[in-house]
Each structure stands twice: as structure tokens, then as C-alpha cells.
Amino acid sequence: MKTIVGMLITLSIIGVVSGGGLAMLSSWADPLIAANKKADTERAIFQVQPEAKNYKKIESVAYELYQVLDESNNPVGYALPWEGNGFQGKIRMMIGVTSDLMTIKAIEVIDQVETPGLGTKVVEDPFRSQFAGLNADPQVDWVKGVPPTKDNEIQTITGATISSKAIVEILNDGLANLRKDMKEGGVQ
């Protein structure tokens, strides 16, 4: 009996000390982590909308969506964070698109866990720069092994076809959702 009480007391003391310490640390770290995340999003918005000077969050949709504005506060397009499945895990990216949602301005991958050196090439140029000015009407397509011939095509990366296709799929999926909401008047 005595040992059981001792065991319980020891474990409870350790648990309380550990929980209390972590609660204190987390109250310090949480705002910083949130700020890091916000900074990431902000950086990605300006990367996919080069002429943007400002942005505002659109609250009328269920997901995150930003309308970007130039220096005289005229809307120049949207920045849409969207995610989907890549080769090894989730890919989260920012899609920059014109106001009519027909032309891609640029894309920027925010989070990914693709194979280093292969799948991670989707984050870098020249793959990334293929998307600048790409026609997204009705959707983006990909070709493998040959240079693209149409204005809505990109070429996949050799050895990272799945990651490349994943990017295109996430892009199309995000835009399709946004277009649907736009048509139904959900975006204000």
C-alpha cells in the first residue's frame, strides 16, 4: 500500500511540474509560432503577386483567401493558400492569380515534405517559374519529357513526376473551388 501511494505521488508531482512548466513555455511560444506562420503567409502572398503593395483577407469564404491591392488600393488579383497530397505528405502552397481567375501569376510552396533533392525541386526554379503567366482556363495541364506546346501546360520534373503532378492538381483544385464560389457570389 505504501509503495502504491509513493508511486502515485511521485508520478503526480512529476506530471504537475512538467505540465505547469510546459503551460508557461507554451504561453510564451504560441504567439511567436503564430507570428512565424503569419510572416510565412505574408511573404508568400507578395511572392506570388509581385506588384502587390497590400492585401486584405476575404472573410466571406470558409477557407483562407486574400485579395491583393496595388499602391492605389485597386484589386489586382487573389492569393489563395491551398493544400493537397504530394508524394510523401501534404503540400501547402500559395497560388497567385489575376482577378478574373484565368491567368496564374506565380505559385509558392509554403510547406512540403517531398523527397529532398528530387521532389523538393518543385519548390525551386525552373519548375516554379513555368507557372508565371500560365493560362489557367479551363485548367492547367502537364506534359512529361517534352517542352510544353500549349499556353496552359507545364513540363514535369524528371524523377519527380508525382510531386510535379501534385502541384498541378492542387492548383486546379484550388482554382475550381474559388471559381465556384465566385460564380455563386460567395466572394465579396
Binding site: 512538467s18 497530397n85 508524394f87 510523401q88 501534404k90 508525382i162
Partner: protein
């Protein structure tokens, strides 16, 4: 259909041992005989299934509602440790032969990183309860598969003339490397 894909993805395409390096310790330590590797795999699968269920419930019913997500590592590892203890007691009560077969492996499972990894991946991938169950089963099946194949190869290896400096861990790692290369053939078949 999606559930079957999750199962196959966790078992073969993204095998825990050969693609994520989880559960390497038992993979190298207990893989010298098929007769002990297979029960070890089964015991691990069972604990993985329970872990998937319990940690999912804890995360979604306690940690998230009370906003104490920072306690997830502490609570998950406690869950794993107590589950292993519980399974050990349960098996001992229910079936003596099974206990004799699995008994010595059970304590080892606590420090099998594949189990904690499973709990964390379920949170990371935002799986629903049913998806989590199938993911846990798939991960266990994948572990059993990997450790059994490895044990089969190592039994043959006993007869081979391995250079003295490569005996033991080095040759096991090299075999694991070749296995990982073979499993790469499944890469990208499914992405869930």
C-alpha cells in the same frame, strides 16, 4: 476504397521502416530469426492499432477541446507505455502460450519509435477516426512485412561468408538498404 488505399499506402508504399526509418531498433535487434520476428511484428501491429484508437480519442476529445495540445508528446508516450503494460497483463491472463511467445518482446515495443510516430502522423495528416484505424493497421502490417522479410534474408545470410568487419549491424543495414531500394519500386503508386 479510400480506406483500403490508406492501408496499402502505410503498409507498402510508405513503409514505416523502409521509407520513414521508424522502428529501426527492433528491426535490427529482433530480425535474426523468422520465428521471433513474426510474433514481434504481430504484437507491434496490435499495439499500433490500440495506439491509433486511443491517441486519436485523446487528441480530439481532450487535448484539442481543452487547448492543451502542447501536452501531446507527454500524453501520447504515456498512452503507449501504459497500453503496452496493459496488453502484457491481458495476454498473460488470457493465453499462457501466447504470453510465452510474445512476452519478452512487449517491453521493447514501448521504445519502438514507429508507435509514437504513428500517433504523431495521424495528428499531422488530420485523419478521421476510421482512417486512423486503417492507417494503424497498415503501419503494423508494413512493419510485420519488413521485419519478416529481413529475418528471412538474415537466416540465409547465416550461411554466407560475410567479411568479419561487416558481420552484425553493418551487413544488416546494407541488406535494409537493398530492401529499401526494392520498396522504392512501389513509390508513388498511391499518395494518400
Amino acid at each position: 476504397m479510400e480506406l483500403i488505399l490508406i492501408f496499402i499506402s502505410a503498409a507498402i508504399v510508405n513503409n514505416f521502416v523502409l521509407a520513414y526509418f521508424l522502428g529501426i531498433c527492433p528491426f535490427i535487434g529482433v530480425s535474426n530469426k523468422l520465428s521471433s520476428a513474426f510474433p514481434m511484428g504481430l504484437a507491434t501491429t496490435f499495439v499500433m492499432l490500440l495506439t491509433a484508437i486511443v491517441t486519436w480519442l485523446i487528441y480530439h476529445l481532450i487535448l484539442v477541446p481543452y487547448d492543451v495540445v502542447y501536452l501531446q508528446y507527454v500524453s501520447f508516450i504515456l498512452v503507449v507505455a501504459s497500453l503496452v503494460q496493459f496488453v502484457e497483463m491481458f495476454i498473460k491472463k488470457v493465453s499462457q502460450p501466447l504470453y510465452r511467445a510474445l512476452g519478452i518482446f512487449l517491453p521493447l515495443i514501448t521504445t519502438n519509435c514507429a508507435i509514437l510516430g504513428l500517433a504523431l502522423f495521424i495528428v499531422l495528416k488530420d485523419y478521421s477516426f476510421i482512417q486512423a484505424v486503417f492507417y494503424g493497421l497498415g503501419a503494423g502490417a508494413g512493419f510485420t512485412l519488413a521485419i519478416s522479410i529481413m529475418a528471412g534474408i538474415r537466416e540465409e545470410l547465416e550461411l554466407a561468408n560475410v567479411p568479419k568487419s561487416f558481420q552484425g549491424a553493418p551487413i544488416t543495414l546494407i541488406v535494409a538498404g537493398l530492401l529499401a531500394l526494392a520498396f522504392m519500386g512501389f513509390a508513388g503508386m498511391i499518395s494518400v
